[in-house]
């Protein structure tokens, strides 16, 4: 993992107020100011295609990255990403800022779609095999994630989790596994995994200073 300055793929670095495309919620604490993405979604709901293009530019990198970490296959990942972004277009009117941030809304749609894809009937048998051959899958996921954990704050916060919390959260979120599968992968009781996922996310939430 590289330390120090990160070369952002999405835009010029160091220009204030211009986060690179796909930048995470780096400034979750930056206050309750207007959620720009949320405001854009409001325009999208009214059919504004320019606003939609702006939403695309702000979210596509994150959506594709997340979907790819779960789905793996590049062609399928792009397909799912397209579905997610079209979902955003179609259902923008269903976004409600009172129920969470726009970024969380989009990423929830993305995660759900990606997970639905890998859990669909055709994949079920193959996944069971993968879960059965345990350790490899975790290393794969962990490696792929570690390599990309160059966002200081998120990495630091993940570092405050216990090992089991971190493994549980990582496998579930980036790997798209159910808690039962995670329990199988880690060789831990199901109840323990559920608790670790919740405790881990709570710790992460508190460390990131997510306002809600």
């Amino acid at each position: 993992m590289t330390e120090g300055q990160r070369r952002s793929p999405g835009g010029p670095s160091g220009r204030p107020g211009q986060p690179p495309a796909g930048a995470g919620r780096r400034h979750a604490r930056s206050g309750p100011g207007p959620d720009q993405l949320g405001a854009l979604l409001g325009r999208v709901a009214r059919g504004d295609q320019d606003a939609y293009a702006a939403v695309y530019d702000r979210t596509a990198g994150q959506v594709l990255g997340l979907v790819r970490s779960i789905v793996r296959d590049p062609a399928q990942s792009e397909e799912v990403t397209q579905e997610v972004l079209l979902d955003v277009w179609r259902s923008a009117s269903r976004f409600d800022a009172e129920l969470g941030s726009a970024a969380a809304w989009v990423m929830t749609l993305a995660h759900r779609r990606a997970v639905d894809r890998v859990r669909s009937e055709q994949k079920a048998a193959e996944r069971e095999l993968r879960v059965a051959s345990s350790a490899i899958a975790y290393d794969e996921v962990a490696e792929a994630v570690e390599a990309r954990l160059d966002r200081e704050r998120v990495r630091r916060c993940l570092g405050t989790l216990t090992e089991l919390q971190r493994e549980s959260v990582t496998l579930a979120y980036y790997g798209g596994y159910t808690y039962r599968e995670v329990a199988g992968l880690l060789g831990v009781a199901i109840g323990t995994v559920k608790t670790r996922m919740r405790d881990g996310l709570i710790r992460l939430r508190d460390c990131l200073g997510v306002d809600l």
Binding site: Y52, A53, A60, R68, E121, T178, R180, G191, L201, V210
Partner: protein, 250 residues
Amino acid sequence: MRLGGSDPHTLAGAYAMDAVPEADRSRFERHLARCESCRQEVRGLREATAALAGVTAVRPPPALRDAVLHAAGRTRQMPPTLAPTPVAWAPARRRRPGWRPRLAVALAGTLAAVAVAAGLVTYGMQGRLDQARHRDHMVAAVLSASDATMASRHVSTGGTATVVMSHRERALVFTAADLHVLPTGESYELWLISPAGTRPAGMIDGAGHGKMIGPMVVSGLAAGDSVGLTVEPTSGSPRPTSPPLMLINL
């Protein structure tokens, strides 16, 4: 409520990461509907997961942008009406003060829509009243079953399908809205899919396309079934001839 013998609250983390298997998910959502502090917690945890998503960002291929923006230009948007959506984002419309994002309410809304549809259908079908009564009876039995669960999915070609199912009644009620209108000669067909095989579960009458469809009752549900939707010749097919446009694990 107990899920798998443990405190349901512990599922909040797994739920926020979509790590809850389908069967537990609907049970947890019923719990969420009654538990404001749980909904609050899930929201907070989802914000945390959104931050996790940030670290995997990549640069998308330029062609994807063109494809998506082009497709959006040709895709009809959903109106801001009440519809079953994930619990944490169940709509809270200002026009309806006092509305709370509860699955129970969403379910009640669906049931009301189903009841209205059933009423309208009955009204127009005097000649087949008995049949309709039987159907209404089945609809009511499924909707009021203590183990009734609801699932809603987008249909890949457009529209939304909603299923309320009861294992105890061994039946499900299917409704759909805003389905893509099919050319003459083609209809939507419903299937029950299990590892043991795929059974036709009924043709969907073409008359209602583009609007609300159903309620249709599908009986003979077995454990492990999924319900799927395909496009088939209007005469129906003994087995699906195209990939499912929508699939719900029951």
